[in-house]
Symmetry: C2
Subunit: 404 residues, 2 copies
């Protein structure tokens, strides 16, 4: 049950007209510009705009989506409505078809310029598991964890598009029991399966973004891999949190799925007990029924369910701005590692191999405690879409390379 489009194969792979994610693409010798995915094609929005088929305000003839992202919800909705009209009404076929390019003929680039990057820690299962692993004598959840969505700022300069090689980072570690730290390539390289939320419309300094204004500011959603070097992270993090253990690379998917496409995926989040403080309360359900899948070298390693996340994206945004910090176009916030209640739903190697003590068996017969050079990690996801469809969030992928 999906909406019909005249595009051949236009409902394939979760990229039907219920989805219509935005990205930036290029072809050899041509400038990068904006496109929308439909089936196995990219609709060239810069060319559509030049042809007068979509509104031309120079949103799309640019190497990033930022100009369109800042335009705001009315512009996002108008463009979405127009694209659905153009792709479903046979009358437009002759004028639109020349602007469809097979996705295999283009290179997909980083879709937007990242302003600040914030990463949350909002899966209760992930937080409990890491607490048990790192602080076995303490209560697994820190006392603040159910009161506020814990987060830290990451490095926006190392947010890379899907496919960027991941060079194994070097740094200091101290193996427990050893008196001296040593330097070298990380021995405990990890992925973190996350969902990222991309801000379009800025907010005003000194005034927070209430949970009810979430849709007025957030443009869309990407998949995100917050690569982590657990040995570097463990040694450096006291008392100011992660630094080099995270700052070498964060990968994001090529397609930004509009928030509007995920309306049918909204579900009630887990019950929050204790009730959060008023600024974190949310009148509408903002759990999201996104089904993530992590693959290592093409073998399924985990299936994390985003619907199990404790803190919701509107709560995260309200928290991040309640101190008066304004939002900028291109601000990216990650959900934190998505881990479900079951062992095969855990969103990182640290949990999947229980800190290396119980190596993960892949169905190619190999085992992993942490990532090895040459490993390719791919995170993909799908969600319920309008008209009974399934929509794809595409994928974010990266291959581990040894240091130079």
């Amino acid at each position: 049950m999906t909406t019909d489009t005249w595009v051949e194969g236009g409902s394939d792979g979760g990229f039907g007209v219920e989805n219509l994610p935005y990205g930036i693409f290029s072809r050899p010798g041509e400038l990068p510009r904006a496109g929308a995915a439909i089936g196995g094609h990219v609709l060239d929005l810069a060319a559509m705009s030049a042809a007068g088929l979509v509104e031309d305000r120079r949103y799309f003839a640019s190497g990033s989506l930022n100009a369109f992202m800042v335009a705001g919800r009315a512009a996002w909705e108008a463009n979405r409505t127009r694209l659905v009209e153009l792709l479903t009404d046979e009358a437009y076929r002759d004028r639109v078809e020349p602007h469809l390019i097979p996705v295999t003929d283009v290179e997909l680039l980083r879709p937007f310029e990242v302003a600040d990057y914030v990463d949350f820690y909002s899966s209760e299962h992930h937080a409990r598991n890491t607490g048990r692993i790192f602080r076995p004598r303490d209560e697994p959840l820190p006392s603040n964890w159910k009161r506020l969505p814990v987060a830290y700022h990451g490095r926006s300069g190392t947010v890379y598009p899907s496919g960027t090689p991941i060079i194994r980072p070097c740094g200091q570690r101290r193996t427990p029991g050893e008196p001296e730290p040593t330097f070298g390539p990380s021995l405990r390289l990890d992925f973190e399966a996350e969902v990222g939320f991309v801000a379009g419309v800025p907010s005003v300094a000194g005034r927070g973004v209430p949970t009810g204004a979430f849709r007025d500011h957030v443009f869309g959603v990407v998949l995100l891999n917050d690569w982590s070097a657990r040995d570097l992270q463990a040694w450096e993090s006291r008392p100011l949190g992660p630094f080099l253990g995270k700052s070498f690379a964060t990968s994001i998917s090529s397609w930004v799925v509009p928030l509007a496409a995920l309306e049918p995926a909204r579900v009630s989040p887990p019950v929050q007990d204790p009730a959060p403080l008023p600024y974190l309360r949310c009148d509408e359900p903002w759990g999201l029924d996104l089904h993530l899948e992590v693959l290592i070298n093409g073998r399924v390693a985990s299936r994390p369910p985003f619907a199990s996340m404790y803190w919701t994206p509107p709560q995260q945004l309200a928290h991040a701005t309640v101190n008066g910090a304004p939002l900028r176009t291109g601000d990216l916030f990650g959900s934190g590692t998505v881990s479900g209640p079951d062992p095969d739903q855990r969103g990182c190697m640290l949990e999947l191999s229980w800190d290396g003590r119980e190596p993960l068996k892949l169905d190619d017969g190999t085992e992993r405690s942490f990532l090895e050079d040459g490993d390719t990690v791919t995170i993909r996801a799908q969600a319920p879409g309008a008209s009974g469809s399934r929509i794809s969030l595409g994928e974010v992928t990266g291959t581990v390379h040894p240091p130079h």
Copy 2:
């Protein structure tokens, strides 16, 4: 003993030709552009460039210094040499003088666009004091502290130019002994007196910047106030470090002092024991004899000596990039709070009032535990310059306002 300039009052206030810091200024109805400070004047570099007096590569007719910062050390040195020639040789006076504007006639803006902002924690006195205050039962210095320069990423979107009003942030806190957190304006608002280092030339992903390449990448130095809400910070920081307690505002001075101007201020840093790992070793002395002064409402609150910092700026940069994270033009890294060994050399209220237990007495007869609405905090600094001069790092100032 200073170098003579034909500019009247051209050696005033530590802004002689030994200094020549860069900034961005505007006058009503005119576009922002780059200038250099000389005495009580701003030399309009965009106009100088248009008149063919300094090399024109469109460095200066821009609203930020980034284009000049990326040009690299040879360009920085050539421009500096040329400015000294123009300002000391009377023969140029008639052609240059029309481009001098009294600094009182201009507005000074944020001098550069910030890419990523990283804040270190490199004063041993500050780290020991905060350790004693926050973790009185533990060893004051965490075990990693003398092995690596601890740091975290801050929010680049809230790095504001000197003079920007500081709105007291709201957020969650939990008073020790109370079971429930509460929400409201921070009750423990603080400053942190720091020095910031600004990257000009990017580095390559996957390769660190060795300590010996510091001068090839770092353009200059600003004064920095890392405003902090201690109550928010204490409650939120476990386990991922500070977030809302820092992200509401960081102020920087208007003038970026070129690294070359600080050559005469270089001194041997404190002896490092244990010896750092090889990637943190530095063949040249990079302590800096900067004399900071913190004023609250015009009264001296502290005089932190930068020469007492344990980790040096080249070590900080080498550490921040050793995991392969590349440097971008506009990357800013703060030294961390500068605190000397003496009580009147402490760089923040937390230390000066010992967590509010010993209020600081100002010589206007008032006392402070933390900052009050209406308080103006100013950090200024000077250093030895060439030819026996003193050079000024200008000032960074901000006034605390109540929340909206």
